[in-house]
Amino acid sequence: MNPFSSGTRLRDMIRAIRACKTAAEERAVVRKECAAIRASINENDQEYRHRNLAKLMFIHMLGYPTHFGQMECLKLIASAGFPEKRIGYLGLMLLLDERQEVLMLVTNSLKQDLNHTNQYIVGLALCALGNICSAEMARDLAPEVERLLQFRDPNIRKKAALCSIRIIKKVPDLAENFINPAAALLKEKHHGVLITGVQLCTDLCKVSSEALEHFRKKCTEVLVKTLKDVANSPYAPEYDVGGITDPFLHIRLLRFLRVLGQGDADASDSMNDILAQVATKTESNKNAGNAILYECVETIMSIEDNGGLRVLAINILGRFLANRDNNIRYVALNMLMKAISVDAQAVQRHRATILECVKDSDASIRKRALELVYLLINESNVKPLTKELIDYLEVSDQEFKGDLTAKICSIVEKFSPEKIWYIDQMLKVLSEAGNFVKDEVCHALIVVISNAPDLHGYTVRALYKAFQASSEQESLVRVAVWCIGEYGDMLVKNVGMLDVEDPITVTESDAVDVAEITIKRHTSDLTTKAMALIALLKLSSRFPSCSERIRDIIVQQKGSLVLELQQRSLEFNSILEKHRNIRSALVERMPVLDEATFSGRRAGSVPTTLSPSTMASVKVPNGVVKSAAAPLVDLLDLTSDDAPAPSSSSGDFLNDILGVDLSPASAHSGASQAAKNGTDVLMDILSLGTPPAQSSSSTPDIFSLSQNQKSPVASLDGLSTSSPVSARAASSQAASSIIDLLDGLGPSPPAPENNGPAYPSVVAFESSSLRVMFDFLKSPGNPQITVIKATFTNLSSNVYADFVFQAAVPKFLQLHLDPASGNTLPANSSGTVTQTLRVTNSQHGKKSLVMRIRIAYKINGKDVLEEGQINNFPREL
């Protein structure tokens, strides 16, 4: 005998492991044992194989790797004796799962064992097959299992039935083979076979409508009779649980009847009597009885309508709800959720009790009850229910506040009868649990506030008061700071007082205090601080007397460690110092935010990237910037509804606040940053679609010299055109102060290298009116990057004005667009516009380039939009 492999007995190993005082000691013991087992496996030691496997299972349970023992399971299963097979199958089920390829090797042994003369061995094989078989094994072994459904011993039949469930779940096509043998099981007397047979039939109905029809026609009566027999059976000690005969069989029969009765009036009708009997006669003082009642109620609720039965069921639920046992109350709440669709009125009657459950000490019950309350709310009861929930918010556990807040916000948003109520409730939630309120809820609130001009004064005063009371709630602070920035003057002058309000005295300096406290507090996060900074800028124009103080606060942020704040502080300071004349126009109140586009925007976006051309701005309907770096932009960018937004990078938030394209020069750098920043902005541009009317509203503004428009957009456009030479030249050396202010980075067009391999030019796009040629250049050092020179030729006899080229690429590509050579395309191919694109292909060699393009231009002031997809790129790009 091998002295190394003899090892210790299983019992001794367990003792040794249990004696370990530290995890390190345990690891050492396990390592030693594993080494011994490995050695023994290598020796192919048969005598200790099953002991080794038993040890491995224990080690596996402790969480150590045991894959090296998998083959031992197979060897044990293949050996002849029952003890070896028993432990082998156990190991197989424990150490492997259906996704391991090794499992396929056992198919043959399983097949032999399913045909074994020893019924216990057949049982082992069925059990293993039922627990871990894969789809392939299910296909291979289904005929054997089907045959075993008629085996003489009931214990094999019941195992085969459960095994069939696994098989039809893995391969639903096989269901029809099992319908007849399964139906035969329903006539049995043996409880085990009945339970498993009913379960098999239920699962067959889930995967096959043919099975459902068959059982509905042939078996409903048999099942009703069986249920009657079980329900009325005298005391049977073997199956008795708390005075009830075989609750497991009860429950399975009720569940199967539910499947049969759903959507079929006749079947439902035939089971009414027995359901009524079960619902009235079952003892409800023990868990087993309640389990049956619970299942029975669910069946009554699901089958076709029978008024009397439903009343019975709702009454049972009412009794459950009043029960002192938490388990019973939990299932009652669970069931009431389903009952709501059947009889909402009856559930409403229990509203008070349900509301109490929201305040339960048990998290599971609270969660269920809250879901239920949420479903119970309608226009008529929203006010009292919301009040209850908000009152409870004050005293609830921290971990429950998140769920509760989300639900309250959603209720308030969905059912609010009037805006003032909505704003009031939201302010209460923000003051109580502002830290749990999600960003989009705050955005929605701001949109609503913005849309309620007669409540601006009221809201800002209420927010000011709330801020004084609970300034540690981040979301509250954000909304407060935003509103004070926008409507600060109303706060101070008590504009738009409502009757319900008490007048308050707030000085201009008090309002500035709010922003100052926020920006200086260490716990404020970047978004909040950035919002406070903007609020300050806005207040500087609203409160000229505080202007100096505000400038001091802004200047202090020059030293901020956060680049974003530092840069903004410098820029804002510059606005305050050098551009007093435009300041008031710059920081005018935001236009009313459009509710419809806001809600549409929340629906989501399409994952495509798009780089707009730099020569003209693109109108962005709510350009969302979903970037962790500056979530603020998201909020502020709402203005871009009414203004042509530049293709800004997510960091560029001055642009976004103002929502304007400042000049072609700044747009250049904006676009180049956008390309770098993974083009999140652009994604949304595309997903929202650009209306064809875009250019008519935006582009002329930029190039027109009209300075008499009152909107901030126009005044900025005016500015940019006041230095048209430098702006159009797009070079940083001639930068005017405004360009300097907004973006110090001048565009530096990359010099394409000319020594790459040559590729033939392609006609990327051609319509009756327009041709786009692509020339390719590739730098030899970097095969991923392709420089594309796009040449646009006008084939028609009209001049194209405001020519804009946009392109979108899939995620594996990165696209960078340089400025185009011009925005006017002369007629009859008499001239061209060129534009350089740089594409980086992260899947170079695997995927070739593809691109979608969109070209917009104007013929005699009329907008034309052309779109196309380019697939004919040379493969090796």
Binding site: R11, I14, R18, A54, M57, F58, M61, L62, G63, P65, F82, P83, R86, I87, L90, M93, L94, D97, E98, R99, Y120, L126, C127, G130, N131, N155, K158, K159, L162, C163, I165, H191, G192, I195, T196, Q199, E238, Y239, V241, D246, P247, F248, L249, I251, N287, A288, A291, E295, N326, N327, I328, R329, Y330, V331, S361, D362, A363, S364, I365, K367
Partner: protein
């Protein structure tokens, strides 16, 4: 259906795991960690159900051991409690007033019993007596095989003396 069965001691040690749905080794470790965290921290008077990742965990504490089964959200929680109790009663009958130590040293026996009770995540036998009879029949098969083996080795030993 039952997705898995876990037996976890009050100290968080795993005493038995049985998986009826495919979970990789990594997922299993994660599941066990999450569920023992949820379960062990709940107070004694609370209900026996915890919602977890779209499924429901039904658990019950017996002395120092938590028995826990994870089921689909539409399954009957109260019945699952009965299944757990059924399992415990069979264990009790088999070991004679079962304790945690019995399950540690005879973990394979506990698995054999569970295999007679549940297959493919569904209960297969409602009679405790039948389960006990099947287990003892198989145990005696093993005993018989052992005796036979030892008698053969005795014969060989005597023959080669």
């Amino acid at each position: 259906m039952i997705h898995f069965v876990l037996l976890i001691s009050r100290q968080g040690k795993v005493r038995l795991t049985k998986w009826y749905s495919p979970y990789s080794q990594k997922e299993r470790t994660k599941v066990i960690r999450e569920i023992s965290g949820l379960m062990l921290h709940r107070g004694p008077k609370l209900c026996n159900f915890v919602e977890w990742g779209g499924l429901k965990v039904v658990y019950k504490r017996y002395a120092s051991l938590y028995f826990c089964m994870c089921i689909d959200p539409e399954d009957n929680e109260l019945e699952t409690l009965e299944v757990i109790h059924h399992f415990v009663e069979i264990l009790d009958r088999y070991f004679g007033s079962v304790c945690e130590l019995d399950l540690i040293f005879n973990f394979h026996k506990a698995y054999y019993i569970l295999d007679e009770l549940v297959i493919a995540g569904e209960i297969q036998e409602s009679s405790k007596k039948t389960v006990a009879r099947l287990i003892s029949a198989q145990d005696s098969l093993v005993e018989a095989a052992k005796e036979e083996a030892s008698s053969i080795s005795n014969i060989i030993a005597q023959a080669t003396k």
